[in-house]
């Protein structure tokens, strides 16, 4: 049942992505100030939003795991964190690609990028902690703690970086209003990426299931 669900979702995601690509490259008009490069915005913003969602899922699953101790929650948490880290990396890279042609530098200490960088490191640490513990159950517990501490830190990091930025004004990647066509494009992109996220998450979970099945079989053989 899960496979057909996944398959349907994948097809939906594919269609949405095609629609999004069309809207990004054909439908929406070129932005006045930044030119064609501005189209990265339509990838950049959904990535941020979904990275945040991913880490929120890590937080919720970590809390539930600590309370209920059901390893399934931990599985969802670690899968979500992996995808979140990837999305954050893409967010950082797309920010970089955007900054270079516009401001001539590969990196700008813009509040959103800076905060994302900090979070990126925190969640990489989240993933690393597991591999440094021998006992898998203990590793899951420790990672859950990091997942909670990391997410709880998010608002404080955002606040501190934003306040810091008012003292060090630097070019901002994007601000200002959106024309209706841009808004529609953005919404379609966010939806497309959300479905992508879901598909990736479900694939990862299915993957981990298969991994543990293989481990079981291996154990029985030796």
């Amino acid at each position: 049942m899960r496979t057909s669900y996944l398959r349907g979702l994948t097809v939906l995601g594919l269609l949405l992505m095609l629609a999004a690509l069309y809207m990004i490259f054909v439908y929406v008009p070129t932005e006045a100030t930044m030119g064609a490069v501005q189209r990265i915005f339509y990838f950049h913003v959904p990535l941020a939003w979904l990275a945040f969602m991913a880490f929120f899922i890590v937080f919720i699953c970590s809390v539930v795991y600590l309370v209920m101790r059901n390893p399934k929650w931990d599985l969802v948490a670690s899968s979500s964190a992996e995808i979140g880290v990837i999305f954050t990396s893409l967010f950082l890279i797309s920010g970089s690609l955007w900054a270079k042609p516009i401001w001539g530098v590969w990196w700008i200490w813009e509040p959103r990028l800076t905060a994302a960088l900090v979070l990126w490191i925190i969640y990489i640490a989240y993933l690393l902690v597991r591999s440094y513990v021998q006992n898998k159950e203990q590793g899951a517990r420790l990672a859950a703690v990091v997942g909670i501490a990391g997410f709880v830190d998010v608002p404080v990091v955002a606040l501190a970086v934003a306040l810091w930025r008012t003292d060090h004004p630097s070019p901002v990647i994007f601000e200002g209003g959106l024309a209706p066509s841009m808004l529609y494009t953005l919404l379609v992109c966010i939806t497309a990426f959300s479905v992508l996220f879901l598909v990736l998450l479900l694939l990862k979970l299915a993957n981990k299931d298969i991994e543990s099945e293989i481990k079981q079989i291996y154990k029985q053989l030796i």
Partner: protein, 243 residues
């Protein structure tokens, strides 16, 4: 200061019900089931990796079993952890001593955690024969004395139950003799004792009942008058050699 909470309708000081503990996929304890009456002494034998330490940790409420329950004087170790720990004294091959602190300071620290009056420090050190070494740093005491100090620490709060996990590790013959003597003497108080040990001889000497653990399961149980050292050795070889 309560010495021992009177057991209610349950007569057993310690009840382990269907204990199961696994780490990752490795099973450390399986179907471990036993009851120890108040004042009884139980020796737990078994080769390395049999699960003795895991069992002691679960009984001491440091570790939670994957499934199954432990009742200490009728109280659940999980539900009323603090009350349960108040009735238990634990001695392991680690001494729980701070090397930079004197023997006195070590005992003073623990007695504060257990809400025990100061005078008790002198009492317990006399019990183990260390009253003259109280102002020496724990780090410079010999291993045998450290273990005796560890026992003194475990007795501070007058627990009705004492759990021991291979306390004789690292001790020479003389120190080991002294250790077991101290333990036997405290038998006068009719404390409930559970000791995990490698020494079949010592264990049988001190205990009323024995249990052999192998690969996480109880493979043999025996009682004192019916069992002698030869019989125990045979059973041990039989049940742990084969498995």
């Amino acid at each position: 200061m309560t010495d021992q909470i009177q057991a209610g309708p349950q007569d057993f000081a310690i009840e382990a019900n269907r204990l199961y503990k696994s780490f990752n996929e490795k099973v450390a304890l399986k179907e471990v089931d036993f009851k120890v009456a108040a004042g009884e002494s139980l020796a737990v034998f078994g080769p390395n990796g049999a699960g003795k330490t895991t069992l002691i940790k679960i009984l001491a409420s440091i570790m939670n079993p994957s499934s199954g329950t432990v009742l200490i004087n009728g109280l659940s170790a999980r539900g009323e952890a603090e009350k349960v720990r108040r009735q238990i004294g634990v001695v392991t091959h680690n001494t729980f001593l701070y090397n930079n602190l004197t023997a006195f300071e070590n005992l003073d620290f623990y007695r504060r955690l257990y809400d025990v009056p100061r005078e008790r420090i002198l009492e317990v050190s006399a019990l183990v024969g260390l009253q003259n070494r109280l102002h020496d740093y724990a780090g410079i005491l010999s291993r045998g004395m450290q273990q005796r100090l560890s026992i003194a620490r475990a007795l501070l709060h007058k627990p009705g139950i004492i759990l021991l996990d291979e306390p004789e590790t690292g001790l020479d013959q003389q120190a080991s003799d002294l250790l077991w003597q101290v333990l036997k003497n405290n038998d006068k108080e009719k404390r409930t004792l559970i000791m995990a040990t490698h020494s079949l001889e010592r264990g049988l000497q001190v205990a009323d009942r024995v249990v052999i653990l192998a690969r996480g399961q109880i493979v043999f149980q025996g009682k004192k008058p019916d069992l002698d050292l030869a019989g125990l050795k045979q059973a041990y070889k039989l049940y742990t050699g084969v498995i």
